[in-house]
């Protein structure tokens, strides 16, 4: 059962990696980042449950708080960039200098 959980976590990580590398708009990049972090949280939670490594849950909480901060600051940067440059695609932001 632990192996299946880890395989699913790897699959979720790969989906997030695909989303980051293939998409160019800000919102989908945020979705993919959250997926990457959730894959790591899934790995930590399943290892804590099946292997008895209960300290991993503390790391999972820490990653969750970091993900919240990252989402709040990232959306703020996106809103500021959109306000001044009307850009919603990350690649176009460099051309607006």
């Amino acid at each position: 059962m632990f192996e299946i959980d880890m395989i699913f976590a790897f699959a979720l990580f790969s989906v997030g990696l695909y989303g980051i590398s293939s998409n160019r708009d800000f919102l989908r990049i945020f979705f993919s980042l959250e997926m990457l972090m959730n894959a790591v949280i899934l790995m930590l939670a399943s290892s804590a449950h099946y292997l008895g490594l209960s300290q991993n849950i503390s790391f999972a909480y820490m990653i969750m708080i970091l993900a919240t901060l990252e989402a709040a600051v990232g959306i703020l940067i996106f809103a500021a960039a959109h306000k001044f440059t009307k850009v919603v695609i990350a690649d176009d932001l460099g051309a607006q200098k």
Partner: protein, 157 residues
Amino acid sequence: MNIALLTIALVLAITSLSVKQSIASLISFALMMLVLGLYYIGLDEKLLGLFQIFIYTGGIAVLMLFGITLIGREFPKTTKSSWSAVVSFGVFVLMSALFLTNRSLLATNVPEIVEKKEMFATSFSDVVILFALIGVSLLYGTIKMINALKPKRSRDV
């Protein structure tokens, strides 16, 4: 049951990245987080599951909704690089192979349970600090977002 929940979460993750409509993408993203939270509750990590549901399905989904007000109903059309699917599949195969070949090391080196699962049972102040950090960061992002969305006042009044 657990495999079904994880399969649903994976399908919802792929859906949220492949759908063109932004609202449908956000809904599938929030549902994926909800399913993962239910899975953690099923793993007997109830507080982690509740955190997952409150933070991701509640907080971050609303922040993303603010972002959708800027983008519109549909995501902008962009060119997708062809190598990204191959690379991400390769990473998946590599991680799975590394894990399955070294699985026996994990099974033999399992330490005894160091501490009991009473991390937040003794002092609720830890929970309060965690919730305060998360709430403050979400509130900060929301307020700044609202300020950024406000139209500029004309200065010649």
